[in-house]
Amino acid sequence: MDWQGQKLVEQLMQILLVISGVVALVVGYTTESFRTMMLIYAGGVVLTTLVTVPNWPFYNHHPLKWLDPSEAEKHPKPEVVSVASKKKFSKK
């Protein structure tokens, strides 16, 4: 999932869960049924899971542009020179 997708997922998740909660509360209160409220909320959580957790294609519309391999060869990585480091703990 690309960066834009991740941002979208976070926003969708929060909005969908809050809306499920509010709708559940309002419907439950007006129908005087605690059970209805819990069922609506559970349904909302399942729906949100289906929308936000799997890696759907529409979350990948802005893929990262990795550097082209031929361009990368023109700029080699600096070589790492290994230096023998003194051991900091002395053997007794």
């Binding site: 999932m1 941002k7 998740m13 929060q14 509360l25 959580v45 936000t52 957790v53």
Partner: protein
């Protein structure tokens, strides 16, 4: 939000937090309910009134309990526990409370009732102070919600008296 596990965890945590909020609001909504319970208790008969071998008084009563506790039920009520207690004063104790009968009322429809029974639990005194004793019969109730705090209240009915001699 870069992996499946991360998203699933974030969703679950937020969902449970919102569930806690919903339950708190549901519990708070109970404050707006208008509660007008009513009750009446009649003593139909004193079945017997004796002194036990250990020296404690015991009395057996037949009670007629009429109550309407329907207004205590809200959408957030799981059950109401009601009990009748005899309350009186002795030289030894400032307040004696003896539970005579109780019931669990699971639904609003069962909350308006009329019942005639002898006391479910024995009415035994600490000592032998009951002859000619004035006592109150109190109907207590505990409303147990589906979420939130339980609250209790009562109706005190006074003016009852036990006979002056054993029967």
């Amino acid at each position: 939000m870069h992996s499946f596990g991360y998203r699933a965890n974030a969703l679950l945590t937020f969902a449970v937090t919102i569930l806690a909020f919903i339950c708190a609001i549901a519990s708070f909504s109970d404050k707006f309910s208008n509660q007008t319970p009513s009750a009446q208790i009649q003593i139909l008969n004193i079945n017997w009134f004796q002194k036990q071998p250990h020296g404690n008084d015991e009395v057996s009563l037949t009670l007629n309990v009429t109550a309407d506790l329907q207004s205590l039920f809200t959408w957030n009520t799981k059950q109401v526990f009601a009990f009748v207690a005899a309350e009186y004063e002795t030289s030894k104790n400032a307040l004696n409370q003896v539970s005579l009968w109780d019931a669990i009322i699971p639904e609003k429809e069962h909350a308006k009732f009329w019942i005639q029974i002898s006391n479910k639990y024995r009415f035994i005194d600490q000592g032998h102070n009951l002859r000619g004793k004035d006592f109150n019969l109190t109907l207590h109730w505990h409303v147990m919600p589906k979420t939130g705090k339980m609250f209790a209240d009562k109706i005190v009915m006074s003016g009852y008296q036990l006979p002056n001699a054993y029967r």
